[in-house]
Each structure stands twice: as structure tokens, then as C-alpha cells.
Amino acid sequence: MANATLAAQATGRPARAGLPSVYWLLLLPPIILIVFFYLVPLAQILTISFTEFDADAATAPLGNYSMLFVDEGIQRMLLRTAWVCVITTFLTVVLGYIVAYAMVNVGPRQRTLLMFGVLLTFWLSVLIRAFAWIILLRNRGIGYEAVDLFYQPLRDLGLVEGRLRLVRSETGVIIGMVHFMLPYAILPLFANMQGIDQRVLLAARGLGATASGTFWRVWVPLSFPGLIGALILVFVFSLGFFVTPALLGGGKVVMIAEYIWFSMEQTLRWGLATMLATTILVATLTLIVIMSRVVDLRTMYGAK
């Protein structure tokens, strides 16, 4: 408490005796909650990944973690997870960039409408969205028939063959995930772009830059922190997807989250499950550390 008072004096704010420690007291319940219901179970998961050995992993030098290097099934699953996440991230950020750019440059009324559109899907449950896509895009669904109209000429020309598979496939998973992730790309990009000083663009034009030159050489570099932030945010979120791949993938797009669930619940291979959980946690934390190096997290969320 004495330190807090000193600190308050040092920063020149009026020292209100006792208040800072009250704040700490108020923080106590959430801290206890996080420690007991999050950190302790997490530590247990870490422990299991090192102590309960899967099949013949006990004799391997890295224990369960050696499976990352020798098990082809797990490697394929990890590659697929990464692949789906990369595609999703790319499409989401490209689409999100366009929407965010439009939101910054349209009038206030259109901006409100756009924002409403973005937030509306943001509030819908992931389960409902997945089912909505299934109803639209399954065989004989309205959306399927509409898309198939454009597909038919290609089929007639012999450029493609077979059925279109819009859901119950990797395509379906990517459609569902991009749709879910869009707000997570649009909102940080929008916050970042709003902070860009429009006068800089005018100056560029005034100095003789073309419209596209201004966009590519001034606007895009200025939106870079938002772009990197959106890329990493979307990628990190995509890594943990469970419901969307499970429903829209027709059982064939098994990503890491579902694989962990399966090993935990169905086959009781907890050593394998906790090893994968730890792996994805480390990957996520690494990405967040990279993100915090490249961009100021506060600018990303518009807090600054």
C-alpha cells in the first residue's frame, strides 16, 4: 500500500489513501477464479501430456511429443488444420479488408448499415450459422441449385466433371469458417483504418500520385498494423475451430480441436489428446507474441 501511495505521488496524481489496495481486493475474485478454474486444470493437462504415455510413446525420447514427428496420421491432420486455416485467413482478410475500407470511406448512414450487417452475423450462434449453410448449400438446397446453374455450362464444356459439393466437404468448411471469422477481420481493420489521417492521402494526391498509387503506396502501408493483426487474430481463432468443420465437413475434415475431443472422449488416449492440446496452445501463444512484436495491440482494437 505504501508503494502504491508513493507511486501515486510520483505520477503527480492526488494520493487517495487506501484506494489502490481496494482495487486489488476487487480484482481478487476474478484472479482466484482464473487460477483455480483455468490455470490449475491447464497445468494438469500439461502434466498428463508428460506423464501418461500413449501406446509406445513411453520409450520415445520426447514421449508423446515424438508422435508429432513420426505419426503420419497426426502430421496429415496438422497439415490439414494449417491448410484450412491459411485459406480461411487469406479469404477472410481479403474480404474483410474490402468491407473495412468501404466502411471508412462511405457516409455515416451507410457505415451504420454496414456495421449492423457485420455485427448481426457476429451475434448469431456458430451452430445456427453452420446449420443455415447446410440448409442452403446441401444437395437440392436453394443455394446449391443457384450455384449449380453456373456450374452446368462448365460441365457441358467438359471443363469439370461430377457433382458440385458445397457442404460436407472442405469447401463447405472454408465457407462456414470465412463467414464466421469475417467480423474478427473487419473490426480490427476498421479500427485501424479509422486512425489513418485522411490528409496524408490528400497530400499524396497533391504531390502528383495517382489514385492507385496513393492506395498501394500510402494507404496500404499505413493499414499494415491492422492487416497483420487481423491475419494473426483470424488464424489463431481458426486453429481452434470445432463445430464448423464437424458439421460442414461431412466428417472428412477433421481438424485439431475435433481430433483432441475424439482422443479424449472416444478412445481415451489422453496422453495424445493433452499433447496435441499443449502443442496448439504453444503455437497460439507464439503467434500472439509475434503479433505483439509487430503491432501495438491497442491500436488494433482502437483503444489508442
Binding site: R76, M77, A246, K252, Q266
Partner: protein, 372 residues
């Protein structure tokens, strides 16, 4: 959970209050008095004698098992309360509950293969066959750690708007023949029954399926792989019903109970054949340190009663596990009974021992295969 009597009283009080039989003040006084009771009433000894918690997979199964098994038992044994809970007793949950030391489940609706896996892991109790009667099971369905409670099958089902009785697929060979039977088809995302189905698809007779050797295993995976582009996989029974209902697939390997539900609901839009069906036992398992202790055995024995099993079958479609029950099934329902002698003869009972030993390995191999 161990204090249903307390909950019952509370519910009763609230109901009385709602209907205006007691006023708010009386209700509060009553609830206050109730709060003073637990130290005395919630002791383990009390729970052991009075309450058995039976856990199944939820939905209609809660009401149906209550009607078929719980209520008749409560009537015969006044003072014992059998609570049916739909918590979904997956192996992972049972293991987590037993390891945490806070076991609230007494009897879980699991399966033959799962009972072997859970039992080998040391998470469930051995069945007391001094109380439960081995003679009331089909051969091989009296498991060390599991008592078969009902029977269901994986059957070949098809959309009758695509096929009539003559053109319908009749065996797993037809199922894997995408040339003569084009269209999307579906199998379960879980490995159980898949090797058997695939081996028969590759042309083996049902008598040749077992024992599953490494080379047969390989053949099974290759067979599945050969039609992978035309397969989608269902994860839950409800999802399999969606596939049938929306006609996303033309045929599938589904649980007969779910096909029956669609058959009833749509007036025969989907039909099935018992030929080469794979028969699976559901099984009661008892977690280690279950709160009701040995009180579970007489109850499990009571569920072997043919009349109660037929009741569950009539409500739910799960076939009786006691061979003596078949004659009690009304003739018009014979068609739906997986353990009817005529239907049973066409099918292959699953090798639970093999799954008990191999499921962790083949389960992962299968998942790797379908997601490759």
C-alpha cells in the same frame, strides 16, 4: 444429485405454491427447514439405500427408460428412487468422473466394447453375476464389466424414392459398388462395425469376417478408401436422421433404430435390410465407487425381465437383450426387432473382445483414413 428426495420436496413445495395451495411465506419456511436437513439426509449411507442414478444419452431415452425400467422397479421396491439422467456417459466423462473422485453416476448406458476398454483401464466395476443372470443374455453378451441392456444393429438402409424392392442394394457389396449404385452414401464417423461392413463389401461372407487379421484390416481400409469420394460421415444418431430426411444420401450404414424412426415418420421413405447387419450390444456399466454401491445389481437384474425389455423395444426400437423376450414381441413389430430369430440369423454379432483390445488403435486409424 445424491439428494433427489430433497429436490423432490422442493419441487413439490414450489408446485404447491404455484397452484396456490400454500402461500409464499409457508413455502419459504418450508424451504428453510429443508436447508437444515442435509447434514443428516445427504450422507452416503442414505443415498446408497435410497437412490440409483441411471445415466443415458438423453432425449426420448430418458422418458422411455424411466417407463420401461425405473418406474416398475420403484413400484416393486418402495423407498428406492431410480433417477434417469440424460448426461451422455461417454468413456471420457466416466473416466474423468472416476479419477476426480466425485462419482455421482451409478449405472451408465454404455456398450460392450466400451465396457472392455473402460474395465481394462480400471474405471468401472465388474458385474456381479451372482445377482445378474448370465443365462438371460445372447451368447457372448455377458461381459466382465458390462451387462447387455439392449441390442441394436448397423444396417444397410436406402432411399425408397431412388430404389424399389428389386433395384435396392441388398448387401454391403452393393454399398461399395458406386458404378451400379451411384450417389452419395454415409457411414458412421466412429470405427465400430466399419471393418466388418467393409470386409463384406470386399466380398467376404459374414462367416469369414472374423477373426480380423492385420491383412483383413488393411483390406477393410482399402475398401473404404475406394469409395471415399462418395462417402459422408455421420457423427450422431440425430445427424444420420438428417441425412435420411433431407435425402442428402441415397443409402447408408445406419443404426436400425434411427432408420425405423425415419421409416415411421415418413411413411416408408427409407427402408432397410437385415442382411449382413452388424449386431451390437448396449451395456450397463457401473463406475468405480458409485454412490449407490451394490444396490445397482438387483436393479440391473430387473432390467433383464423380458416384459420390460419388450416395453423399451416398443417405445424406442432397441431390441431385447434377453432371448426369451422375442416371443412376447407383437407380430406386427417383428420386422423392427434386431433380435427376432429370423432377423438375427441374417446378421453378424460384433466381436466385442476385438474392439475392447483394438479400438484406440483402429479408431485413430479410421479417423486418419477418412480425413486423408
Amino acid at each position: 444429485m445424491r439428494q433427489p428426495s430433497r429436490n423432490d420436496i422442493q419441487r413439490l413445495g414450489e408446485a404447491l405454491h404455484r397452484t396456490g395451495r400454500i402461500d409464499r411465506r409457508q413455502l419459504l419456511a418450508g424451504l428453510g427447514a429443508l436447508a437444515a436437513l442435509p447434514p443428516m439426509m445427504s450422507s452416503k449411507a442414505w443415498a446408497q439405500a435410497k437412490e440409483i442414478v441411471l445415466v443415458n444419452w438423453g432425449g426420448d431415452a430418458i422418458e422411455f427408460m424411466d417407463t420401461s425400467f425405473a418406474i416398475p422397479y420403484e413400484e416393486e421396491n418402495p423407498g428406492i428412487d431410480v433417477v434417469v439422467d440424460g448426461g451422455g456417459p461417454s468413456q471420457g466423462k466416466i473416466r474423468a468422473m472416476v479419477e476426480s473422485g466425485a462419482v455421482t453416476w451409478d449405472i451408465c448406458d454404455s456398450g460392450g466394447g466400451s465396457s472392455i476398454q473402460l474395465g481394462t483401464g480400471g474405471f468401472i466395476r465388474e458385474i456381479d453375476y451372482d445377482v445378474v443372470d448370465r443365462k438371460k443374455f445372447f451368447p457372448g453378451m455377458d461381459f466382465k464389466w458390462g451387462a447387455t441392456n439392449y441390442i441394436y444393429s448397423f444396417v444397410l438402409a436406402y432411399d425408397t424414392s431412388e430404389y424399389d424392392t428389386d433395384s435396392a442394394p441388398k448387401s454391403w457389396k452393393d454399398f461399395f459398388n458406386t458404378k451400379d449404385f451411384p450417389g452419395l452414401r454415409s457411414m458412421r464417423k466412429d470405427v465400430i462395425a466399419v471393418p466388418e461392413v467393409a470386409l463384406m463389401g470386399a466380398g467376404l461372407a459374414k462367416e469369414e469376417v472374423y477373426p480380423i487379421t492385420p491383412s483383413k484390416e488393411k483390406l477393410a481400409w482399402e475398401t473404404v478408401k475406394s469409395i471415399l469420394d462418395d462417402l459422408i460421415f455421420w457423427a450422431s444418431g440425430a445427424e444420420s436422421q438428417q441425412f435420411m430426411r433431407s435425402q442428402e444420401v441415397v443409402m447408408g450404414c445406419f443404426w436400425n433404430t434411427r432408420v425405423k424412426a425415419i421409416y415411421d415418420e415418413t411413411d416408408g421413405m427409407w427402408d432397410w435390410t437385415w442382411n449382413q447387419g452388424i449386431v451390437l450390444p448396449g451395456a450397463w456399466v457401473v463406475p468405480k465407487n458409485n454412490p449407490a454401491g451394490d444396490a445397482v445389481w438387483p436393479f440391473i437384474a430387473s432390467t433383464q425381465d423380458p416384459a420390460r425389455q419388450v416395453k423399451l423395444f416398443e417405445l424406442f426400437g432397441n431390441a431385447p437383450a434377453n432371448p426369451a423376450a422375442a416371443p412376447l414381441v407383437p407380430p406386427e413389430l417383428k420386422k423392427f426387432n434386431a433380435t427376432d430369430p429370423d432377423n438375427y440369423a441374417l446378421q453378424l454379432p460384433v466381436d466385442n473382445e476385438w474392439y475392447g483390445e483394438n479400438i484406440a488403435r483402429v479408431g485413430k486409424d479410421y479417423l486418419d483414413l477418412i480425413s486423408s
